[in-house]
Structure formats: C-alpha cells, structure tokens
C-alpha cells in the first residue's frame, strides 16, 4: 500500500482531468438505497447511471453506411458498440434469481424482477436489416458480453407485446415504425460469471465507490437478487445507461439473530473505504423505519423524505452504516394471546401489505397428467375500487391454450365482464410462442379465479435438451395495472407484476437409459416393421405338401 501511495496522486489528478474533460458529454452517478421490509428482510439496490449527453441512438437507415467513430470516457465501449451495431433505441436486460414477493415487499424499485433472464428492446424498422435480424444479433452479442445463454432467446420465445412493454424513454421521430421484441428465459440463473462482466462496465469497476460493496459471496447468498442493464434515450438529455443490482437480504436467517438489525458490513461483508473519483454523485440512501424504535450510526448528514442520505465523497471513510432496532422482530404483531385460547392471531408481516401492489396474483398449472392440464390464475383485488390490469402470457408452444375454456369465476360462479379485449396470437408448433393478452377488470375486494385448459406438447426426440430432465420452465405471466382514461381507453400505470415461473412435465422417454431405449426401439421395429415388411414383400402361392413324405 505504501508503495502505491506516491502513484495515487498523479492518478487522481489524471482522473480529475478526465472527469473535467468528460463532464460536458458524459455524466456518471451511483446510488445505493437500503430499505427495511415488513417481513424482516432488507432490500438493497445499486444504481449506476451513465448519461451520454446529447447523443442519439443510431438511425437504422444508416446501418449500411459507415458508423461515426465512438469515443467514450466512462461509458462502456463494449456496450456502446453493440447498441450502435444493431441500431437499438432502447434495451432492457435483467437476470434475476428467486421470486419477488409483491405482497410483502411491494413494487421493486426496478420493475424487471421476473425470474430468470428477460430481454426486451425497441428498435426502428430498417430498410435493409430487419428488426428480427438485428434482434438475433443483439441477443447473441449480449450473450457474449454477459456470459449468459441469451442466445437461446430465439424464435421459440420471442414475442412483441407493445402494451405491456412501453418504452421507458423516448422513441426518436425518424418517420419509421418502432417495434418491440421481448423474450424471457426463466431457467437462466444469475451468478458470478454474469457479475464480472457487469462490473467491467463500471468506470471504477468494484475497486472504489459504492460498487466496492458488490461482493459476489454475499450478493448471491441473498434471498432474492438480480442485475439489470437498461439503455434508453431521453429526448432532451441523451442516452442513459443504467446498471442496477437489486437484492433482498434476510438478517433474521442466522439462528442467533433476533432483531432486524443490519449494517453495510453485515450485508456485504465489506465497507466503502474510498469514493469513485469519476462519480459526480455518489449517494447511499437509507429509508428510515417509521413504526419501529431504531438507532442509526453514523447519523445521516441529510434527511429527506423519510430517508437518510450519505454522500460517499464527503462522508468520513470507511463508511459502515449500522441500523439497530430496540425490539426483537416478531412476525406476530397482535399481543401474544395466553396459551391455548383460540382467538385468531395475525401475522401482518407475512400477509399482504397495504402500501404495495393493488392486487395479489397466484398462478399455478394444475393437473398431474403429462398430456393436459389447467392454467389457473387467482387474482385478489385488495383495493376498494375496481382495478384494471393487462394480463399477458407469452407461453412457449409446449403449452397450448384452449381459449374457449377461458373462464373467470367469483366465488365459484362464472362471471362475465371480467375478461375483455382479448388479443391472441396462437402458437405455431415447434416455432412461435403464444401471445395472449387480455384486459381484466377486478371488482373491489374480490378474488377472481381465471382458469383455462391447456394441452402439453409431445416433443420430437431431438427437441429434448441433452441435460438432466427436470421439466420445462415456463415464463412468468405479466400484469400491468391500467387506469381507465377519460375517453374510455386504458392507460398503463407505472408498475409491472411478474408471477412466479412454472415448471411443466412433458412426456419424456427415459434418456438416462440409452441401452433400454435402444432395446425397446429395436424390438418394436423388428416386431412391427419386420412383420409388415414381410407380408408386403412376400409372394403368396400354394404349396402342395405330400402327406406321405411328412411321416
């Protein structure tokens, strides 16, 4: 360390110069927010935002000609090249593990929390290179960049649902139509090999600043964790790239823990020892609990909107924020009843939380048969007003819907008027997935049970993956809360709800027993084909057998 110190000075100077030079066009800021959740968990979110001021996405009509040269200081060139090569206007990639519990945790700070990988992008239709062509290139390039099997987000999974995935930035007015492509990959997991390329996109890597807390050993042990890459264009500002890492920790997991207390060190096993010099803003935002007695150390220098804000660049380092609670954490909020009296005790910590999403969703695939089943979606409106939501299923062709069996029941009685505006693009076996979209109107304080019969596909033997046969993961359904506008049209609200993924068992031969399979197949072939072939090719004629010769 001592040997490095003389070098630090000129390096910092160089950094500063670069920062000053770059600040006119490039702007980097980082943020960490920490929230305590009602069920004892702690949610954290890292956000690293880079703004390319004044830049515009590449017009797809110029894809055939030579691109302008790219010079970035803090913006990652690797990603910039991909974006320009395929003329991507807006891009969202998320890699998540676990189920986001909307009822207890509310909406996540970053919307894309569906289990597994999800990629969606808006692209302008080009004259020579089509959207689908560039989509294929984009997912392969990103697969290489993030070490994830995004290459398998192929035609079997790609859909274009524009209502559920509206652009979060602005679409340039080039006079050409923009199209969305969306593909989920629920079986993909996020792990260290995805985090390393993610860190490489940051100007300070994980060496300094808030990013130094990104410790894979702790992040990937969190109950829920996920990373995201979001690129969008804002008309008056420029291109914004946002890298996020969200995680939900459980401070109550160890047997010794009795309170929800946490500290930066206990969560990440690291502290912030130095700031990132190129970050123009570097904040740690801690939401202060409203209903519990707590102590926080060090005291936040600034409190704004119920949150303590620490500026990493100015605060005393190493920074290790500690949150302590006076009371033991209890899932039971009512007074403990005397033993064996049977008043119902309540566990608000485990139930629906009033501040969170307007409705709760549960989706299951029923039936243990390998040939058919029933898709069931149970939605409970938790509000006193009718809630509208756009229901989207992008189902691979493995599961085929029987739309005529679609029924919505309230208390077991079929009710009309709940499902409206159905858009349905049926699947094509062995290629296109189903896109099913419907508007739901759920009456206040009601539970609606939507069911639909489905068939499970019978696969060709080459379509079975060569790995362990655990079943096929089905992507989450997506619900977008909608608002009824003045003119009777629906406007999307901010927020998106992903249901947990499903696993489906299809009829599968036991591939782990190749010898048995070969024997069975050969026997069948010999017995059936052999006989039929024999009969077909045989010439029938009368043979006279002399009975005397027999004896």
């Amino acid at each position: 360390m001592l040997g490095v110190r003389p070098l630090l000075w000129p390096l910092t100077l160089l950094n500063l110069c670069l920062t000053v030079l770059g600040c006119t066009s490039e702007h980097f800021q980082e943020n960490l927010s920490i929230n305590t959740l009602q069920d004892g968990k702690v949610a954290t979110k890292f956000t690293f935002t880079t703004l390319l001021r004044g830049a515009t996405p590449r017009d797809p009509r110029t894809l055939d000609s030579e691109d302008e040269s790219q010079h970035y200081t803090v913006f990652p060139l690797a990603l910039g090249q991909i974006l320009r090569e395929y003329g991507v206007t807006e891009l969202h990639l998320t890699l998540n593990a676990g189920n986001w519990n909307y009822d207890r945790w509310g909406y996540p700070e970053e919307k894309g929390v569906g289990t597994g990988a999800e990629l969606w992008a808006w692209m302008g239709e080009g004259p020579t290179k089509t959207v689908d062509h560039r989509w294929r290139g984009l997912r392969n390039a990103l697969a290489g960049l993030f070490c994830a099997s995004l290459g398998s987000l192929d035609e079997l999974r790609t859909t274009s649902p524009p209502q559920s995935f509206t652009p979060e930035g602005t679409l340039p007015d080039w006079g050409i139509p923009h199209k969305v492509r969306h593909a989920p990959l629920p079986s993909e997991n996020v792990c260290t090999e995805n985090l390393t390329p993610f860190l490489k996109l940051l100007p300070c890597k994980s060496l300094s600043g808030i990013a130094s807390l990104l410790n894979p050993h702790r992040l990937f042990d969190a109950d829920w964790h996920g990373m995201g890459v979001h690129v969008l264009w804002r008309k008056d500002e420029g291109i914004e790239m946002k890298l996020t890492f969200q995680s939900v920790f459980d401070p109550l997991r160890p047997a010794s823990a009795s309170t929800q207390a946490w500290s930066i060190h206990s969560l990440f096993d690291r502290t912030i020892s130095q700031g990132c010099p190129v970050a123009q803003k570097s904040d740690v935002v801690v939401a202060l609990p409203t209903s519990a007695v707590y102590a926080i150390k060090p005291e936040p220098p600034l409190i704004e909107g119920g949150a303590g804000i620490y500026d990493v660049n100015t605060v005393e380092k190493p920074l290790d924020i500690k949150m302590m609670f006076a009371d033991q954490f209890s899932f039971r909020k009512s007074k403990p009843c005397p033993e064996l009296t049977y008043q119902r005790q309540l566990y608000p910590a485990l139930e629906y939380h009033s501040n969170s999403t307007p409705f709760s969703v549960k989706r299951t695939l029923r039936g243990s048969s390998q040939a058919w089943g029933q898709l069931s979606v149970v939605i409970t409106n938790q509000r006193d007003t009718t809630v509208h939501a756009l229901y989207l299923e992008t189902m691979p062709w493995l599961i085929q819907f029987y739309i005529h069996t679609l029924e919505a029941r309230v208390d077991g009685v079929i009710k009309d008027g709940i499902i409206t505006n159905i858009t349905y693009i049926p699947s094509v076996p062995h290629s296109r997935p189903t896109t099913f979209q419907a508007m739901l109107s759920i009456p206040p304080r009601t539970t609606v049970d939507i069911t639909m019969d489905v068939t499970k596909a019978f696969l060709r033997y080459t379509e079975h993956p060569p790995d362990a046969q655990r079943g096929w993961d089905l992507p989450p359904a997506i619900f977008t809360p909608m608002e009824l506008g003045n003119n009777g049209s629906f406007l999307p609200q901010d927020g998106r709800i992903y249901t947990p993924t499903l696993l489906v068992d299809l009829a599968t031969p036991d591939f782990s027993m190749p010898y048995n399979v070969i024997i069975f197949t050969c026997t069948l072939t010999a017995a059936i084909f052999g006989n039929v072939f024999n009969l077909l090719t045989r010439k029938f004629l009368l043979v006279y057998i002399d009975p005397d010769k027999t004896q």
């Binding site: 189920n99 899932f331 049977y342 068992d505």
Partner: protein, 664 residues
C-alpha cells in the same frame, strides 16, 4: 470325391453339413412349411406336459421369491443423490425445541380441541417462525361410516352423528426456497393419527412436533433449491387425500374442501413421519402406494444409508425386526421345530417371507401402507419413516438428523427420480428382488392358462368322427387312424360372449349395490341376502338343454376357452401394474378356472359350482370388515380394489361356475 473330402478342413465339413440340412434340394418353401408343421406338431403332442411344467414352475417360483439366494443387495442408482455426504447441524438445542412443541401439543390433546382449532394453532406456530402457513378444511361424505366410526372417532377427528361425513382440517406451511424460483418442492408431512392409531387411536404427537421443530431449523439455511412444504394432515389418510387433491386441482366426488391459499411448485419427493411412541429402537420404512404403485427405490435406499451411517439408527422393513440381528425377534414359530429354525437358511427364508407376504398384502389390496401412498397417485416418490415404539435408545435427535440429511439428499436431485427403479420386491431393508426375478412366476402361470385355453379352443373346433374313408372330403388331412377323421364344427362364440357380458354386468350391479349407503348401513343383514341372490343366478345355466347337434361345439367348452384366455390376459397385464394382485389372482383363480368343467353327476356339478361361487362371493359372508374397508378406500382414496373384485374377479369365477353347471 473322397480324396478331396480329406482335403477340406473339418470346420468346413461341419459347415457344409449344416448347409445341406438347411438348403437341401427341392422347394425351399415346402421345406419351411414342413419344418413349421413339425415344430407345431412337437408342441401339440406334448401340450399337456408343457402346461403342467408351466404351472408347476410358476407356483414353485412363488415359493422361491423369499429365498435368501435370490435377489441382491440394494445400491444407490442415481449419482446425484449422494446420501449421507453432508454434516448435519441438527443438535440438542433443536431437540429441546421439539420437546417444547411436544409439551404444548400434549396440552392441545388434553384440551379436547376441535380439529379446526388444532389446525389453526399449528398454522400460527408456523407463522411465528415467519413461514407462510394456512389451514384447509375438508369433508368427505361416504356410504361407509363403520370404518371411520371404529377407528377415528375415538381420536380428535370429528365424525358427524350420521356417520356419513368425515370432517377435518389440515395445517400446512410453505418455506419458500431462497434464491430459487420455487418451481420444485418437497414435502415433509405427518398425519395427526399414527399408523398404529388406526386400531387404538394413538396420535402422532412426536411426528408433529418434529415437523414444527424442523420448520424453524430448516429456515436457517440458504442451500434449499426446492421449496419445503410442511403438512400436518388430519385423521390418518383422509386429510392428506384432501390436501393433495386440492394441490393438484383434482376433483373427487363426495369430497368438499377449501382450495389452498398457498401453493408451490411441482412436488418431486415427500417424507412422511410417524413417531407415535416415547422413544424408538429402529426406523421402519413403509413404501407401498395406492393401487400398487411404488416409490423409486433410490429413495428407500438413500434413507436406509442415511439412517444407518449418519444417525446410527438401524432400519427395518415395516416393523419386522430381523431375527438374525435382534435377539428379541429370534423366536421360532410354534409350528416349526427349534432345530430346523436354527438353520440360518431357514431363518432367513422365514424372515424374508414375512416381509414379502406383508408387501403383497399392502400392494394387492391397493390401499398402500400409509400416508405416503397417497402421494404416489401424483407421481411423487414418498415413503413413511416409522419410529418403532420402544424404550430406547433413539429420540428426536436421531430422527431429526435423519430427516435433515434425507432432505439434503432430496434437495440434490436435478431431475425426478427415474431409472427403472420402480419394480422391485424388498426382501429386507438392504436386499431386494429385481423385476426379472419375480415377474416370471405370475407370467408362467398366465402362460399356462393361455395354453390351456388355446388347446381347448382347438378341441372345440374339431370333432372326431368315425366315417368311411371314401365319404370324407379329400382335403381333410387324415392323421393317425384311417377310420377316424377330424371334422370342423361351429363354435358358439356369440352366445358365450353374451354369458360373459352378463356376468360382468352382474358384477357392476353388485358393486353399485355394495357401495350404496343403504347396503353399508345394514351390511350385516343384507350380505347373506345379496350372497344368495347373486350365487343363485348361475343356476339358470341348469335350464340350458344340451346341444345335440354335432356340428356345434358345446357351450361349456367355448365358455371355458374364453374365460381362460381372458383371465390369462388380465393377469399378464396386471403383473406390471400390481404384481401382488396378479400373484394373488393366479393363486385364487388359476386352478379353479383350469379344472372347471361339467360333470355327468348333478351332485358333483353342484359341488364344483359351490366352490367357484364361494371363492367369488365368499367375502360377502366371511370378510365383511375387509369389504367395508375396501368400499371406504374406493370412496375416499379411489382405490380400485373394490371395483376390480366386483367387476373383474367375481365375473371370472361366475363364468367358471356356469361352466361347471352347463350340460356336458
């Protein structure tokens, strides 16, 4: 030629001779047909011998199944399981937690709580641990009240005064696996009533406290790749049936239940814990499922390894102690001299025979051997760990470690348990018979029956006539005698099929009658009446006058043919689905069907008839308890045994009895 013959090497000469025998001069087709005829001839001439050999070898094979020389030691087939490879963390602190739960459960038991209050309490205990939990109420309406009245009403299960409804509440909790999507799940369950409680109402208190203590314990670890579902089901079997049905969205007539508020992913494996006593000496494993289904043997083997090496608890099959290891069980049966018993072969044979017979009993009647059996209907591999009540030395510490390690093993699974490890007979906890070592026994007998039927079919088609040689048709081949000739005759298949269909219809009528509420309420009075009514129906056959026309085969012969062929087909099919049932069928039906034939004397005819009918309908008089149980199993658990007996087994014997009564 001779000189050159010496030059040809010896192997070449052998080859030439072989070729000569196959390809001689003359028509190849003619030779082939001749060869085939000769083969058929050999078999037909020795058919009686072949049939007898098949029957004798089949029945002998049954006796060989428990032999200590047949079969092999168990092994782990699925490499992913890695049983017993983890350090267990369950310690005395957790045992203390379990003891505390037990003390509170005892208060609950003594407080005479309704099952709903109890389920509520359990659900709240899960809630205190921070695990999402809920309860589920259910109600079965059955025609058989008697069974539930006898066994469960003494416990806390509420039974309506009409004895027609079986109500209860299940409590369950879902521990969501951290870091995973929860698309897969494993279940740990305990029924409120223990398996020994079916007779005396013993409760599975320690099993339930183990589940509660485990819930708090398992929550501390982040390595679970599958959701863990804890289920405390009410009653013995019915609660779990209601819960599983609701989980998989299967509707069942006569059952009303609440839908589940919490769900999880696809359940792959399940462990059911039954710990009724104070302490235990062995862990017994029960594995037979509903309708003869079996769990993957890897699960049993993993549990066996873990219990022995991780927790140091000896494992037994069922509650059968091995006389070779346990002095307490080392007693010779009263019918066997001690000297003979002391031969180790005999001792092993008797012990393994005991296991096999127990297995056959559980599998044949389709009820399975416990709560785990209900899981099998949804392709979930499940077993019951039964803590054999004893004065020691094991307790919560050993069972907790066993379950923890078994769950880790189940958690290791990347895919469902598969391989061809579903067909086996366990002769001991570490010994089993592969399918190839037991299946042939039943198949040989069913082959014998088929051969017997086919030979009778040929007999029915031909009649031997003494006619002049000139008058006979030239095409007919004359065989042994020039004076006697074989003449084709018509086989009255349609009328025989009518008789068969009638017997099956009779079976359906009997089944709907037996499973009706009216019958079940007064079965003690009605059984003899029904028996007489159904037993007298075949007597109508006495009214059929013999056919004098020699061109038509006698009805009894054709009936016997179709009866035998049908029975043989049924047995062959069932061997794969439920070997024990097929084996029982071969024993019960095999010989009576083969020997059913009309006799000249009416007296003898009626004797044979009475034998067949008693075999088919005797359960109405002699096994009334089993009958009520079987109907209950059908109504509550949808076990196919009762309908099978009425609609398949009984008609087979009715057909045989008609064969005996028909005129020769």
């Amino acid at each position: 030629m001779d000189s050159s013959g010496n030059l040809i090497p010896r192997w070449r000469r052998v080859l030439l001779r072989l070729r000569e025998s196959v390809l001689t001069s003359g028509d190849v087709n003619e030779k082939r047909i001749r060869r085939r005829k000769r083969l058929v001839d050999i078999i037909t001439r020795r058919l009686t011998l072949v049939k007898t050999a098949l029957f004798i070898s089949g029945y002998l094979w049954f006796l060989l199944i428990p032999s200590p020389h047949l079969g092999r030691g168990t092994y782990i087939d699925e490499n992913a399981l890695q049983p017993g490879q983890v350090n267990t963390d369950w310690n005395w602190g957790d045992v203390h937690v379990a003891d505390n739960y037990l003390a509170r459960l005892e208060q609950i038991r003594d407080g005479n709580f309704t099952s709903e209050q109890r389920a509520q309490w359990l659900s709240e205990e899960f809630g205190k641990l921070g695990i999402a939990s809920s309860t589920q109420r259910y109600s079965f309406s059955t025609s058989t009240a008697v069974c539930t009245e006898d066994s469960v009403s003494s416990t806390f299960s509420r039974v309506d005064p009409t004895f027609q409804h079986l109500n209860g509440s299940n409590a369950y909790a879902v521990l969501a696996s951290p870091r995973h999507s929860g698309t897969e799940a494993m279940v740990i369950s305990a029924s409120w009533v223990s398996r020994i409680g079916e007779e005396d109402g013993t409760l599975n208190m320690r099993g339930v406290s183990t589940i509660l203590a485990l819930a708090g314990f398992l929550k501390r670890y982040s390595y679970w790749g599958k959701d863990i579902i804890f289920v405390v089901s009410d009653g013995y079997l019915e609660g779990m049936q209601a819960w599983l049905g609701a989980y998989h969205g299967v509707s069942q007539s006569g059952l009303s239940r609440e839908p589940l508020k919490l769900t999880s992913g696809v359940i792959w494996t399940a462990l059911n814990i039954d710990y009724p006593g104070h302490s235990f000496s062995h862990l017994g494993v029960f594995f037979e499922g509903l309708n003869g289904r079996m769990p993957n043997q890897d699960l049993i083997n993993s549990f066996d390894r873990i219990a022995r090496y991780t927790a140091g608890v000896p494992v037994t099959l069922y509650e059968h102690l091995d006389p070779r290891e346990e002095p307490a069980a080392n007693k010779s049966p009263s019918w066997l001299p001690q000297a003979l018993y002391n031969i180790s072969e005999v001792k092993s044979y008797l012990y393994q025979a005991k296991n096999v017979v127990r297995h056959m009993k559980y599998q044949a009647n389709g009820r399975g051997s416990g709560v785990h059996g209900l899981f099998h209907q949804f392709r979930i591999d499940a077993i019951t760990l039964f803590a054999l009540p004893a004065t020691g030395p094991h307790g919560f510490h050993a069972i907790g470690r066993t379950i923890e390690s078994t769950l880790r093993t189940m958690n290791n699974l990347l895919e469902r348990l598969h391989a061809s490890f579903f067909f086996y007979i366990m002769t001991g906890p570490q010994r089993f018979l592969k399918i190839g070592f037991y299946l042939p026994s039943a198949i040989l007998i069913s082959m014998g029956m088929m051969f017997h039927g086919l030979s009778a079919w040929v007999d029915a088609g031909w009649v031997q006539e003494n006619i002049d040689y000139e008058a006979s048709e030239p095409k007919k081949p004359t065989t042994y005698s020039q004076k006697q000739t074989w003449k084709r005759r018509r086989r009255p298949v349609i009328s025989v099929l009518c008789i068969m269909i009638a017997t099956h219809l009779l079976g359906i009528i009997l089944f709907s009658l037996v499973s009706s509420t009216l019958f079940m309420e007064n079965y003690k009075v009605l059984s003899p009446i029904v028996f007489t009514a159904f037993a007298s129906v075949p007597l109508l056959a006495l009214q059929i006058s013999p056919i004098s026309n020699p061109d038509i085969a006698p009805i009894f012969l054709v009936l016997k043919v179709l009866n035998l062929c049908f029975a043989s087909t049924v047995i062959s099919i069932i061997t794969l689905l439920n070997f024990s049932l097929a084996a029982s069928l071969t024993v019960l039906v095999g010989m009576p069907l083969v020997f059913s034939s009309p006799s000249v004397s009416l007296h003898w005819r009626l004797m044979k008839f009475a034998g067949c009918v008693n075999l088919g309908l005797g359960w109405l008089l002699f096994c009334q308890g089993e009958m009520v149980q079987a109907v209950w199993n059908w109504e509550v658990l949808t076990v196919w045994f009762a309908p099978f007996i009425c609609i398949v087994y009984l008609p087979l014997l009715l057909q045989a009895s008609v064969t005996c009564l028909l005129p020769p």
